[in-house]
């Protein structure tokens, strides 16, 4: 079985910051906006190098989304930066009308998604954003798994013409994907080959899925781990090819099971190849204060939870 190790941990938001800085040097049409969270979004380098292409809007996210939409008229490629909660729920109608329905080339870049935001608690820990964004016609939804992949995704979305939601996080997590990877929007990455169960994971849960697959292997269970960095458009072929072999699947995400990756996968399976599925996701609940690790443990979003669900779903075959 292919195994993954890491030598360094970094936050995915820093991958975004590095990608944005590179875009600042390579794409003169890229502009950035932020609603008073420059440090948290790691936008400092871009701002330092391209002050004329940065717009600090203050604590006014609705205005930021509208300005971003307007900046596309004139050929700019705006990247907005704030926390996931303020990037989606707070400004849903602005995104819906001025960006998505208007077909504007805005990149909504959202940090501190999910429970791993940690101690600030439920007001800031959005677990509904994937659902909110994937429901918007034409919106691409991406949730990369580590620093390198977030950087690669940031570069890739500048080349895509249309609205994108890019979701990443706060905590330091292992870097296990390659530094020079090519990021293809909508193309899943098979991390391990396996025959007994498919584990489809996104974001921070990809590493947890790999840890789970190692433990399962020790117990004689071979898991096929697929990194679904793009939730919309979903790589249906990758999922169907895998379950044709394994005949059962676990989906894993740092999000409510309602509206998340798991439900998107369920639809693909229901239409094409009904397959037993278990969900590693939050169970229609808000989060709370705590350390990221404590929260992921309490809400069942770690490798232990994935192992348990994998065994359950294998039993349902």
């Amino acid at each position: 079985m292919k195994t993954y190790t890491y030598t360094e941990k970094k936050d995915t938001r820093s991958g975004f910051g590095a990608g944005l800085a590179e875009l600042g040097r390579t794409n003169p049409n890229v502009v950035a906006l932020c609603a008073d969270l420059v440090g948290s979004l790691k936008m400092d380098t871009f701002i330092e190098e391209n002050p004329e292409r940065f717009f600090q809007v203050g604590i006014a996210e609705a205005n930021m989304m509208g300005i971003a939409a307007g900046l596309t008229i004139g050929g700019k490629i705006p990247f907005t930066g704030t926390f996931a909660n303020f990037s989606t729920g707070r400004v849903y109608d602005q995104i819906r009308q001025s960006i998505a329905y208007s077909g504007k080339n805005v990149k909504i870049c959202a940090s501190h998604a999910g429970l791993t935001l940690g101690e600030d608690g439920a007001t800031h820990q959005i677990l509904e954003d994937i659902g909110l964004m994937k429901m918007l016609p034409g919106m691409v939804v991406i949730n990369p798994c580590d620093y390198n992949q977030t950087k690669a995704a940031t570069l890739a979305i500048a080349e895509h013409n249309g609205p994108v939601y890019l979701r990443f996080g706060r905590p330091s997590v292992p870097i296990f994907t390659s530094v020079d990877q090519k990021f293809e929007i909508g193309k899943a990455v098979k991390m391990t080959e396996g025959n007994d169960v498919t584990i489809v994971a996104t974001g921070h849960l990809v590493w947890e899925a790999l840890e789970a697959s190692k433990a399962l292997f020790e117990e004689g269970i071979s898991a096929e781990v697929i990194n679904i960095h793009t939730i919309k458009p979903l790589d249906e072929e990758a999922i169907l090819n895998s379950v044709a072999k394994t005949r059962c699947i676990v989906t894993a995400e740092e999000h409510n099971y309602l509206g998340g990756l798991g439900e998107s996968v369920s639809r693909v399976l229901a239409l094409n190849n009904p397959t037993p599925q278990e969900f590693v996701a939050t169970n229609d609940t808000f989060g709370e204060s705590g350390t990221p690790a404590q929260l992921m443990e309490k809400y069942g979003l770690n490798s232990t939870a994935i192992i348990k669900k994998a065994k359950t779903v294998i039993g349902r075959k």
Partner: protein, 290 residues
């Protein structure tokens, strides 16, 4: 080809007045046909749109979404789409006969304006209120980045100012010296549920804009073409001075149709057959119906 008239010449306001009457007929016939839509505010802004597209804005021929090297207009209060569509069509953006499809299934002329169906002349969807000023500011800042000295014009309802996003945008525009923007507020004093003063009184709107450090130009006769041209020329002269410019345009909702004036009743209601006949008789055909 430039589509701007030279402001040094005396504009032929009689032509604009004739066009305004034809636009009124378009508005009335459009909303009557589908028994829906918003004639009141549309009629109130007919002169403004006619002046804007025929005299005030410096426009390029044809339609290009990016609008490089031309003035751009954003309608924030999208429900007055009838006047917008009529003036866009009669300014050459799409065939005038297409006004016949307003609000019908499979039409590019949706109830509220959208880019989604590819209608030339429209650069942003509007309808859900309060979003247009932010968009206009973004477009204005894109012009600055592109070293394009052309202006951004926008229109907002007075009731629409009750939406909080406007005040985020108003605060931002002056703080960031967005001085290539002329945002016009249609002061007709009315909204769906009644007079703005009764629904949610906004007090002194001029003082509010000035408190947010905008330059304010007042057009007291907002249904008079000459007054609009004079006021907008003044507004234009105040751009480029470090402050955004607000035009307070005092209009009469339902202007040009006696029974639609002095009431908020025609905000979102279409005339019946008899009412249409009466309204059209007050506005005899000038340039030909669609």
């Amino acid at each position: 080809m430039r589509l701007k008239s030279n402001s040094l010449n005396m504009p032929n306001t009689q032509q604009l007045k004739d066009l305004t009457i034809q636009v009124r007929r378009d508005i009335l016939r459009m909303v009557h046909k589908v028994n829906s839509g918003h004639p009141g505010g549309s009629l109130g802004c007919a002169e403004f749109f006619v002046a804007l597209y025929n005299e005030i804005m410096d426009r390029n021929e044809g339609f290009n979404m990016d609008g490089i090297e031309e003035d751009l207009f954003f309608l924030s209060n999208g429900h007055i789409s009838p006047v917008y569509y009529s003036v866009l069509a009669r300014s050459g953006y799409f065939p005038v006969k297409e006004l016949n499809t307003f609000r019908l299934i499979n039409s590019r002329l949706q109830g509220h304006p959208t880019t989604h169906e590819g209608l030339p002349g429209i650069r942003i969807a509007s309808g859900s209120l309060g979003q247009g000023m932010s968009v206009a500011i973004g477009a204005a800042q894109a012009k600055k980045l592109n070293n394009d000295s052309h202006l951004i014009y926008s229109l907002h309802g007075d009731g629409e100012l009750q939406e909080g996003q406007n005040w985020e945008a108003i605060m931002y525009a002056s703080a960031k010296k967005v001085d290539n923007l002329i945002a016009t507020v249609d002061l007709n004093g009315k909204q769906i549920d009644g007079a703005t003063d009764d629904v949610l009184a906004m007090g002194n709107i001029k003082a509010k804009f000035e408190a947010f450090d905008w330059t304010v130009v007042e057009i007291k006769e907002g249904n008079d073409i000459d007054a609009i041209l004079k006021g907008m020329a003044e507004a234009k002269s105040k751009t480029g001075q470090g402050k955004p410019v607000c035009v307070l345009l005092e209009t009469m909702m339902g202007n040009g149709v006696d029974f639609m004036m002095h009431t908020h009743a025609w905000h979102g209601k279409a005339p019946n057959d008899e009412q249409l006949a009466s309204a059209l008789s007050q506005n005899p055909e000038t340039l030909g119906d669609y």
